[in-house]
Structures are given as structure tokens and as C-alpha cells.
Amino acid sequence: MELDFKYLVSRRRLLRAGACLVSTAVMGSRLSLASEVDEHELNATHGRASLAGADAPWTPVWAYDGMVPGPTLRVQQGRPVRISVVNALDESTTVHWHGIRLPNAMDGVPGLTQAPIKPGESFTYEFTPPDAGTFWYHPHADSLQQIGRGLAGALVVEEADPIVVDRDLLWTLQDWRLTKDGQIAPGFGSMMDAAMSGRVGNIVTINGAPPGDQTVRAGERVRLRLVNAALARMMALRFEGHRPIIVAIDGQPCEPREPQGGRIVLAPAMRIDVVLDLQGDPGSRHAVTDDFYDGLAYTLTSFVYSSEPPLRANPLDAPVRLPANPLPIPNLADAVRQEIVLQGGMMGGGKLKGVGGMVGMAMPGMNGGPAWAINGMSMTGDGHAGMAPLFTLQRGASCRLTMRNETAWWHPMHIHGFSLSLLARNGESVPHGQWQDTVLLAPKDTLECAFVADNPGDWMLHCHVTDHQMAGLMTVFRVT
């Protein structure tokens, strides 16, 4: 990768400086550019990918524009976007713009917010991203297969005033369950996967390729955007010999801080932006490991320093705090309280009728039944018409939402259309001003969060371990 960068001056600032020179000649040209609709097209189609290395056979995949991951869409905060999605698959699809606060009709949930896009048809999504940050897009139809076969891509909403870094890197992490001959393994929707930890795979790729070494230069500062686009694989990344600073979670800026225990926990659908000052010695090598699952730690990739002399003697002396996004602040004193309880799964204790360890029941989810429930109710699949909301909020109301995980499993719970302000986990307040659209609950965790119900519509709230969502860990709430 190229290492000649405009340090100290970010690329955008440079562009803006250029634009200022021009703007004296062409009055108002920048303004019209900013308000002009940013047009994109995506084709959901078939393709093939080299996932297991050059010597392994090609893997047939389903992919946006035939690429895994799909093309990275880079759009600007506050500028209208129009994305035409063409369905060249053999089955219906939709696209969910994960984490973007947008009109309900653009949210991409089949049956609930739009009719599915049939094969050969297209649908145009239009929205204006209010928040800058790292987001992603994926189908919300036949989700296990469509995401599991490769349909996913990153959506980066650029700030008007980004922080100063030498390089802005993106790792879209995907997890694949391949057979020995390199094909996508059958068995989507296995009841064992559904009732346990989901369809975790056996090959992890970074930006669609087996992770090779990442070449870096001593002294440089990078912003690394991590996107977990896996169906089910949780990750806990450690950057050996480095001290990553978390600057945003799920696209939303937070107080810059080091991760607890030096471990960046990234559940499916979560994004974490880190700033890394690469202070290793020229020529040195440092592993990036993932040790989320006990006994299954592995080296994801390695930072390999070039032999060039350090770019600078000391770390860059520039702030790493990202500009805040315009999130509405919940009024906790006057908030409506709602609680959701996650139930079911293997070792679920049989608290739920028909789910989890009931006597005579072979396995939760067996015989096509749901494996999970929220407040005793199992909504299964990807979304469909007639899903009755679990609760209704008056538009503009603040909601204090408690999520209680009664199960023995981990669940990244994703809220559509909103970002949640994290208040407390298991009774201890959550510091650093964190906002997330996908919050991870460990077994038996209780999480308190809040949001302002400022966006009308029927919105989904579901686990993003896709097998769990499909097997009942999903609900809907309404904002009037």
C-alpha cells in the first residue's frame, strides 16, 4: 500500500483549501455541490471470490456488484444520497442501511417498511445521513443465506471536519463457513446453530481476502474502521505492542479511550473506529489476534513495519476526538420506561413454553419451532407484514429501555432507526458518552439505555447473531 501521505494536513482539508481558491471565482459552487444528490447504484448479484488463498478454489458467492465485500460507499454527512439497488439474484432482497437514522420507508425491512425487491426489479433508497461515521449495509431478506453468502458492504459517512490522520483504513471483517473444497457449506438454519452461538464460520476475511500482512510505517497515525459483517462470529481483537484508542462505536463518536484490558470486543454488526499511533520499530512485526472464544484464539493478521525511518519522532500532537453528531439527548427525568427480556436457547432453563430444555423437547428450535423469544413472544424470520408492535412511543418522547438477557448466550441487540445512549450495565454506569445501534449483552447481562423517539414508524429491535434473529430473537416497536 502507498505510504506517501499528506501528513499534518488531512486530505479533506487539502481539498477544501483548493475549493476555497476556486470559490472566489465561482461563487456558491461549493454550496450547490453539497446539496446535490449523491447518486449510487448497487447490484445484488452472483459472483466468485478467492476467500481461502491463492491456492484454494474460487468460492461462488452472492455479492453487491459481484464483489465481497460490496463496494465501500463513501457519502457526506448531511448530503442527500440516492442509491438504486438492482436485484439480479434469484430471490427477493432488500437493503438495510445499518445504523443510519433515516425515514422508516428507507429502512429495508421486507413487509414492515417496504415490499421486497423481487428478482429483476429495483428499488431506490433515498436518505440524508445525519450522522458521520462508520456504518454498513446488508440485506434484510433471507438474511442467513444472503449475508452468509457474501452480501455486505461498508458505508462510510464522512465528517466535514475529520480528525488528522495519515491514513484512513477500513477492515470489513467477514466470516465464512466453507467446506473442504472451498464452497459455502450448506446447513443454513441448522437448529444447533440457531439455539447456540449461530453459524460461526471457519475462514475470516478482511476486505474479502484472507488476511495477509498489513504494511505500516513507523510513526504514522491511522484511523482504523473495524466493521464486523459476520453472521455470528464475535471478535475480541488485541493489537500486540500497540495501544489503540477507541474514538467511535457504531459510527457515533465517544470520549477517546483505550479498550478495557486492551481488548476490542466487536460483535456482529458492530463498528469500532480506533486511532493507532504506529510506534513500533522499522522492520518489526506485531500480531493482531482474536481471542473471543475460549480455546480458539488465532492470529487474524499482523502489522509489518517497513524498513523506512519513522515518519515522525513522536506521536502526532493532534486531537483524536471526533466532532459530535447531532443526536437528540433523552430527557431521563421524564422518560417512558420499557423493558425487554431475552429468553430461550440451549441451556435456557425451560422458562419459556416450548423453548429451552422443556422435558420431552429435543432441542429448542427443533421441528421448526422458535428457539428464542423476547418477552415471551417469538418473531421469526427477516420481517414481514402484520408484526404487532411490542410497545408504542409517542413521537418526541424519551424512552429508557432496559434489556435483560436471561439466556446463557451472547446477543448483540440492534435497534433500527435510532442510536441508544448507554446508561448502565449490570447497575454500573457506562462512562465515555457511548451511543450504539448494536449493543452487546453477555449472558445474564442487564443493560440500561435511552433514546428519543423522534422518528415515526414501526422499527425492529433484534439480535444480530443472524440465526438468533431468524429463530425468534426479534421484536418491533412503534413510534407514532
Binding site: 481461502a52 488463498g53 484454494a56 463457513r177 466453507l178 473442504k180 457449506a185 446447513g187 441448522s190 437448529m191 444447533m192 446453530d193 447456540m196 452461538s197 453459524r199 460461526v200 464460520g201 471457519n202 475462514i203 475470516v204 484472507p210 462470529r233 472464544y293 475460549d294 480455546g295 480458539l296 488465532y298 492470529t299 440451549m346 441451556m347 430444555g357 422435558v359 420431552g360 423437547m361 429435543a362 432441542m363 427443533m366 421441528n367 446463557a408 448466550w409 451472547w410
Partner: protein, 146 residues
Amino acid sequence: MKMTYRLAALAVAIAMPLPAVAATINAVMYKNPQCSCCESYATYLEHNGFKVDIKPVNNLSQISSDAGVPADLEGCHTLMVDGYVVDGLVPVDIVKKLLTERPAITGITLAGMPAGAPGMGGAKDGPFTIYAFTKDGKAPTVYATE
């Protein structure tokens, strides 16, 4: 890449399970890293003359399917012992019966996690049905009830 090797190693392990040696019977257990009841079952086997090598895996349903376990009869873990597949919480006397009789089957399974099964605790509500399966596409047959 390492994961590819691991997958290859698993394939080898499935094809050539460790032979039983002397008094102790060696077994390899593939289990979900986050499921705890399987470990109680391994302890139960160890109290009954087995030596169990526990291997956490993330793709248990794939391993179990590759081992020939019918999808609707999956147990909560997969054990490879003396040339046979023993899936789920099968009582030890039935495992020993299998290893003594050595029938021409791929393995046996007790589906799900029924209460009262070894490793599960709780009271048994009815007889367990342990099925025998093969890899030749024939329907599973009842191997034992207990």
C-alpha cells in the same frame, strides 16, 4: 490460513479417530466453546474409564453433519471414540455396548439435551431413545432405549 489448517486437521481427526488403548478408552469431544453441559458429560465419561480430549469448535453443526449425524437427531456435542461417532448425552453403558458389539454403523445419537441425561441433571421424564445412523442414506434405527 491457520483456520484452514485447523479445518484440515479436523477432517483428518474425523476420518481417523484415535484407537482405544489399554484400560482407558480415548475419545475426542467436539463442543461449542460456550456450552457448559458437555463438560459435565466429559467428566462423567472420565469417571467411567474414558479419557476425553475436549476440542472447542465454532462449527459444531458442520462437524456433526460431516460425521453423518442426521440433522433432526443432533445432540449438543460430537464424540469420536474407537471408530464410532457418539453424539449427545448417551449413557455410558450404551457407549460401552457399542464398543463391544461393534455393529456396522457410523454412530449413535441421543438427540438434544433431555432432562435426566448424564451431564444434564434433572429428573428423567421418560425413556431415552438412542438412534443408530449410517452414512449410506438409510433411515436411522433405534439402537437402544434406556
